[in-house]
């Protein structure tokens, strides 16, 4: 059991309000991702849930119990830090055993639990090593091992993959998702990377300047972003946001079209532009073009689309998949 409820939680540092009042429900077993640009308060929000920061006002319920004033250890949550925060003078075994030792468990129980956690995370051969003798991915797994032995009500991840290289990040992403399916424990995950959010989450919480912009499943956010911020943040490459005459034609202040919803052609189409950059990824081709009377637009063509810098191309936005936004930035 591990439901978490935030009720009107706010946080100020001195006179600066970092998080205005926030309400949020996290159901038991859910994988929730907090995503937003750096400095949007997502890590602070996670630390408030963990108990490492006090909420200025509001209440936090964990499992239906009021945990607002409880010490971090009492909340039954465990956290994986961005720097992993392994204890450098302890072996891998010592690191994973530490929370159990602090809980005063018997030696034999500790041994069983550490070994089974190490088994799950493929760390059995490294139990005697010190953290500095491990690679980044292994350290990450030790940090996760330390979190899972306590059998917490929920896991909190604070940008756990940002110190890994790109290939390893994809791997660890899969491993964490798999772990979630295995353990079926609530996970709250903070990241600035919308790809991580889209691939792992059951539910995404998009944060901007401390406010929750939108909450929903990855595809909900992709299909129907509530406002300009969410529209620009979710999806890669970014949605094209076009203001001016082209938007006025649709009775909106700004219109948005995702690169994958813009058809490319060398011969015909309503928009005409000059190619500035072409990115060939093999499976896709991203064409950045300067469209006449519209401005820079990115379009995605499946497979190979052979154009060069400076050539003229024609673009056709899919009329059904154009997003319209009003003057206040909200979707119409």
């Amino acid at each position: 059991m591990g439901s978490i409820t935030l009720e009107k939680v706010s946080k100020s540092f001195g006179t600066t309000k970092v998080i205005p009042e926030i309400d949020l429900e996290i159901a038991d077993g859910e994988f929730v991702v907090f995503v937003g640009p750096s400095g949007c308060g997502k890590s602070t929000l996670l630390r408030i849930i963990a108990g490492l920061e006090d909420a200025t006002s509001g209440a936090i319920h964990i499992d239906g119990r009021d945990a607002t004033r409880e010490a971090p250890a009492k909340r039954g949550l465990s956290m994986v830090f961005q720097s992993y925060a392994l204890y450098p003078h302890m072996s891998v075994y010592g690191n994973i055993a530490f929370p159990l030792k602090m809980a005063g468990e018997a030696k034999s129980t500790i041994d069983d639990k550490v070994r089974s956690a190490a088994g799950v995370l493929n760390l059995t051969d490294y139990l005697d090593r010190k953290p500095r003798q491990l690679s980044g991915g292994q350290r990450q797994r030790v940090a996760i091992g330390r979190a899972i032995v306590r059998q917490p009500k929920a896991f909190l991840f604070d940008e756990p993959l940002s110190n890994l290289d790109a290939a390893l990040r994809v791997n660890m992403r899969l491993e964490i998702s798999e772990l979630h399916h295995q353990l079926k424990t609530t996970m709250v995950y903070v990241t600035h990377d919308q790809v991580e959010a889209m691939t792992m989450a059951d539910k995404i919480v998009v944060l901007n300047a401390g406010r929750i912009e939108q909450v929903g499943s990855p595809l909900d956010l992709y299909r129907s972003p509530k406002n300009l911020f969410v529209a620009g943040f979710i999806g890669s490459p970014k949605m094209n946001l076009i203001a001016g005459a082209a938007a006025a034609k649709e009775n909106a202040t700004t219109i948005g079209a995702r690169p994958e919803h813009i058809g490319l052609s060398k011969t015909e189409g309503p928009w005409q532009g000059t190619v500035t950059v072409v990115e060939h990824l093999g499976a896709d081709t991203f064409v950045h073009a300067d469209v006449d009377d519209v401005g820079p637009v990115t379009a995605r063509a499946p497979g190979e689309f052979l154009v060069k810098h400076g050539e003229r191309v024609f673009l056709t936005p899919d009329a059904e998949k154009i997003y319209r936004f009003g003057a206040d930035g909200d979707a119409l």
Binding site: A73, S78, S83, L86, Y87, H89, P99, M102, R146
Partner: protein, 290 residues
């Protein structure tokens, strides 16, 4: 310094400095060694003669030698204990955010800048004096008999004075070490259910181990040769109660004018320092490896 040429050039450039340091070290050592085998008394100039190992036998069988050796070790050990424990506690305190932190840190470091003779005089006359010392005044305020520190507890008093001087050094080193402790590690331990005491034992102390090693090594070097504090306060007395090896060598050479015996004592002190150094490096030097 990768190529053969730069390497030999570097050697050439360093040679004068290395030679200088070597001569600086070897000439006094060789002269002391030579004197230690002579019958060399300042009251009888020009009458030096070969004495064999007589000086060593004389110095090592002197009852004062045993006492001085024990005093030296007690002084070094006592000061190390006080500065390490006190330094750690002070560093923990100074690491907390509080009003006037900068001023307090400066005040804590201040004793380190006071010359040994000056601080010894201040302690002798203003703090520990049995008539007008502050400690005596405090004792009288509570209706107690004032303690004559330097006469009744001479070695303890000297230890206190020296510890007071070295406490800032230990505090400073340990405070910087404490500040380099990763904040996330402390938070992780907090989430793992470690209370303040367990956090100190399992996270902070192991982190401080290396800094403590540095403190022990550096302080030991200086504490083996404590001299000014003893000369100013107790003159090694009463009897030999506060005489350490350094002071004994001084007394031999300049109070008894026996340069030969003092040289032998000097050589013994060098050997002792080396024994302590080897012992220390064996014991805690592995903390310095990464």
């Amino acid at each position: 310094m990768a190529t053969l040429q730069t390497r030999s050039a570097a050697r050439l450039m360093m040679t004068p400095a290395v030679l200088m340091l070597f001569i600086w070290m070897i000439v006094p050592l060789a002269m002391t060694l030579y004197f230690s085998f002579l019958r060399y008394n300042l009251l009888m100039p020009g009458m030096e003669e070969w004495a064999g190992t007589l000086n060593y036998r004389y110095f090592l069988t002197d009852p004062a030698f045993g006492a001085a050796l024990v005093n030296t070790l007690l002084l070094v050990g006592g000061v190390l204990l006080i500065t390490l424990v006190g330094g750690t506690l002070l560093a923990l305190l100074l690491d907390q955010p509080f009003f006037g932190q900068g001023i307090v840190r400066l005040l804590v470091i201040a004793p380190f800048f006071v010359m040994p003779t000056v601080s010894a005089l201040v302690w002798k006359n203003m703090l520990m004096h049995p008539v007008y010392g502050i400690f005596a005044w405090i004792a009288r305020t509570f209706g107690l008999q004032p303690v004559d520190w330097l006469n009744n507890l001479p070695l303890f008093s000297v230890t206190m004075i020296v510890a007071w001087q070295w406490l800032p050094f230990a505090t400073l080193i340990l405070l910087t070490a404490l500040q380099s402790l990763d904040e996330e590690q402390k938070e992780a331990a907090e989430m793992d259910g470690a209370g303040p005491v367990s956090r100190f034992i399992h996270i902070v102390l192991p982190h401080l181990a290396r800094a403590m090693t540095v403190v022990v090594l550096i302080e030991t070097i200086f504490l083996l040769s404590v001299f000014a504090e003893i000369l100013v306060t107790t003159n090694g007395g009463p009897g030999t109660a506060s005489t350490n090896l350094t002071y004994l060598v001084y007394a031999q050479a300049l109070l008894q004018f026996d340069v030969g015996g003092a040289s032998a004592g000097g050589i013994v002190a060098v050997i002792l320092a080396n024994v302590v150094a080897i012992f220390l490096i064996r014991l805690i030097g592995k903390n310095l490896e990464t």
